[in-house]
Symmetry: C2
Subunit: 472 residues, 2 copies
């Protein structure tokens, strides 16, 4: 894959460390838990992203918190970068190793350590994936709602402050992590909180680490909130004549206080792609996918209220069902949107990006983006967690065509600038990685200096995932 | 009022600054917006607390963000402490000035700057109180749910990460602040975020400042999430034979996923106090106050489901009503609990403290606390936001009786240690101030060092509310 260079991050090269000593010391401890094979390093050098592969010098497969401590301590002693790695599904180059160093793969730390059914919480290792967790929880009547689409690791989801389709009702990782155990840059192990449901005891280090993409500490245990599986779930699809109508129906739904669990927009191109890939027969027009959680009576009431709102905006018919198989088929199609998109233009790379704006600006933002896509002649379906004002564009790019790559970069740039101008953010849920570092100043100004002070204070040697989020 | 000294904080005296120059410079700018009168200084030297009054050297009444910047810059130049002050309803000595300095009273910064009805958010100055905000929102159909009882300022509620009766459904301040504008220790003004409903753009400085009690920055604008006023509200009371039965009914209610808006426990002594003070006629036995928000059908369903659970634990009858007057009378009584308690033993001081434990340990924790109260011969009603595992004890103390004060201190200490031993926290919502600093190490261990690093990085001169949360 031809990648797009990010020369801006090269300004933050850490001081050269003693890589040789680090590798020797680590291989003495880790033996076959460590690899320097090119294929393994490359597999850890980038993820589901168009960013250039930047492999680490070695990969260590940690099996315990002690392993993580050992790696971080060695890297601190030798001033060598250490980059946490989960399942490799991040989108902004979060796991790339622009300065080499050690990829710390935690995928083998994949045990659910405790489930406290009475307290609706659990403690997991960072390599547990969200599907694995929900499988292991099945007998308890509880579930973990955050669903970014990919079967990401919980550790990675902590790192990027992930959210997804359920966030409109259940919040994001920031809302669903009770506390963390993490290894800090000096190798010390800290617990950021307790299992209390709320606390006013000191600075919120849990939220400071959530979304820090491995730049402030390496998470080794996560205490998560769980939720009861709803008594009833209903779901369905609702077509609209225009994107604007669909967006306005979403705004009215949120304002009316209907506790919708999922409300996802697919533009007509995405519907076409999903029809083809997932064998659906939807009308190819802007469409909302919805899900309601509650009691039998509650989900019926919510569904009917939404149906009436949709009608007000010329949408419908809203067809909904309690049938789990039909619902799952729909949401599987939603989750497979990325793969469906790839079929629209085989042989291209999919550039997935996201922004988030106040919901009152959503229609305007999506329509302007759509106009850009058309005027630039791009193939780029739009899907969105629109209840939060968050939407994604998957641009299908021929990476061999430099002119097209340049057009896409310019499109991406304008998309982010537009979102920021609307009092929105350059990323609702993908994170900054190195791909979106350049937008933080425009979005947050002087707050980036505060972030830099925090980074310097907690990682003075700049060994934790250097070259991500902030330049130091 | 005779106070209890906190000698431990004296270890962190900041380097002596140039107070004279600071006072001169500030009075040159602020004229009659500044006071050095003893009465004003004392009024700002402590709050609703048993902690000793520690007055500042002067009080500045800020009227704008520029005023706040000017005060912080002057204090930074002269190395003089600056202590933000809202309404003075904090409980752990958050506004005390153990090292003197300037109390920065923001109560005149009390404008609601923007209401974005479509986006369910608003921007307010820190001196706006929660009741004022809800009055100003009345015409919009929206409300701000966080309700700590006192008519606290929003700025103060940010500072202590406040919550209260509605938190079980609507979360705490951490969940309801979208972003902040704050003046940092060097006088720079930062915006921690945008109005986007969610973001993955960099470190979560919003949550870092929420709960930092003015020790990391002075908040000058707050963007808050709002919620639609529910279509229907029902509420009622439910008596139980024992505290254990009441707690177990709460656990079952939360586990069953009933989206209860408020679920408050009053022990029999609190019911007696409230009967007398608020002219209620409740049976004097452990009692739950409840409220449900939703559609007409929804609140009926929730109320009936709760009634059935209560019956399973020998409780009831659960009497509930849609009538707003009856409901308000009940919740007014709940809010007046503190004043009702004072009547139980006139002439004493009320020591209000709180802890929070995982809900599975709630009954055990409350029962052990109750046993302590009895064996020590204290008068100390218990009320609690029990849906979160959070409860309060109001100990009525004769501050002239040194032996009693010592007993109460020992009781308080044991209460916190018990909560921490149950994987809970020393404070669910009151904050640390200087009253609970001594417990952070026991609760969070090495994480306190991380907090200290953050504090040093963001306030290197230790001028922002020194002597609170962490020693530096």
């Amino acid at each position: 894959m031809t990648g797009v260079a990010e020369p801006s991050v090269l300004a933050s090269v850490p001081e050269t460390g003693d890589l040789g000593t680090a590798l020797e010391s680590l291989s003495g401890r880790f033996h076959n838990q460590m690899s320097t094979a090119a294929a393994v390093r490359e597999q850890h050098g980038h993820t589901t992203t168009w960013h250039k592969n930047q492999p680490p010098d070695a990969v260590v497969f940690a099996q315990s918190t002690e392993d993580v401590i050992a790696v971080v301590k060695t890297c601190a002693e030798c001033r060598v970068p250490v980059i946490p790695f989960g399942t490799g599904t991040s989108l902004e180059g979060q796991v790339n190793a622009p300065f080499g160093g050690i990829s710390l793969d935690v995928s083998q730390m994949n045990r659910v350590l405790e489930v406290h059914q009475e307290d609706l919480d659990c403690v997991v290792q960072p390599g547990v994936t969200r599907k694995q967790l929900n499988n292991e929880l099945r007998a308890t009547g509880l579930f973990f709602p955050i669903d970014p689409g990919a079967d990401a690791s919980i550790g990675g989801m902590v790192g990027t402050r992930a959210s997804g389709t359920n966030a409109v009702r259940y919040g994001t990782m920031k809302d669903n992590v009770l506390s963390l155990q993490a290894v800090m840059a000096d190798g010390s192990l800290v617990h950021t909180g307790t299992r209390a449901r709320k606390s006013s005891a000191g600075y919120d280090l849990t939220r400071l680490l959530v979304g820090s993409e491995g730049t402030l500490g390496v998470v080794t245990e996560i205490t998560l909130k769980l939720h009861g599986i709803p008594e009833a779930i209903s779901g369905g699809v609702c077509p609209f004549h225009t994107l604007e109508d669909a967006c306005n129906a979403v705004i009215a739904t949120i304002q009316s206080g209907i506790p919708v669990a999922r409300i996802e927009l697919l533009d007509e191109l995405q519907v076409r792609a999903s029809n083809a890939y997932s064998k659906l027969t939807l009308r190819e027009t802007p469409t909302l996918f919805l899900e309601f959680h509650g009691s039998e009576g509650g989900v019926r009431e919510q569904s009917e209220m939404f149906g009436a709102i949709a009608e007000d905006f010329g949408g419908g018919p809203f067809e909904w069902t309690h049938d789990p198989e039909e619902r799952n088929r729909l949401w599987q199609a939603r989750h497979d949107a990325y793969f469906a998109d790839m079929q629209l233009r085989p042989g291209t790379e999919g550039l997935a990006t996201d922004v988030c704006v106040p919901i009152s600006r959503l229609a305007e933002c999506i329509l302007a983006t759509k106009a850009d896509i058309e005027s630039l002649g791009l193939v780029a379906p739009i899907v969105g967690h629109v209840g939060d004002g968050n939407f994604h564009v998957s641009v299908l790019v021929d990476m061999e065509d430099q002119a097209e790559v340049a057009r896409v970069e310019s499109f991406m740039h304008d998309l982010v600038e537009r979102a920021i101008a609307m009092d929105g953010t350059c990323t609702g849920e993908h994170g900054v990685g190195h791909g979106k570092m350049k937008y933080l100043d425009a979005e947050l100004g002087g707050a980036v200096d505060v972030m830099r002070s925090v980074k310097k204070a907690l990682d003075p040697l700049n060994i934790l995932n250097p070259g991500k989020i902030v330049r130091v």
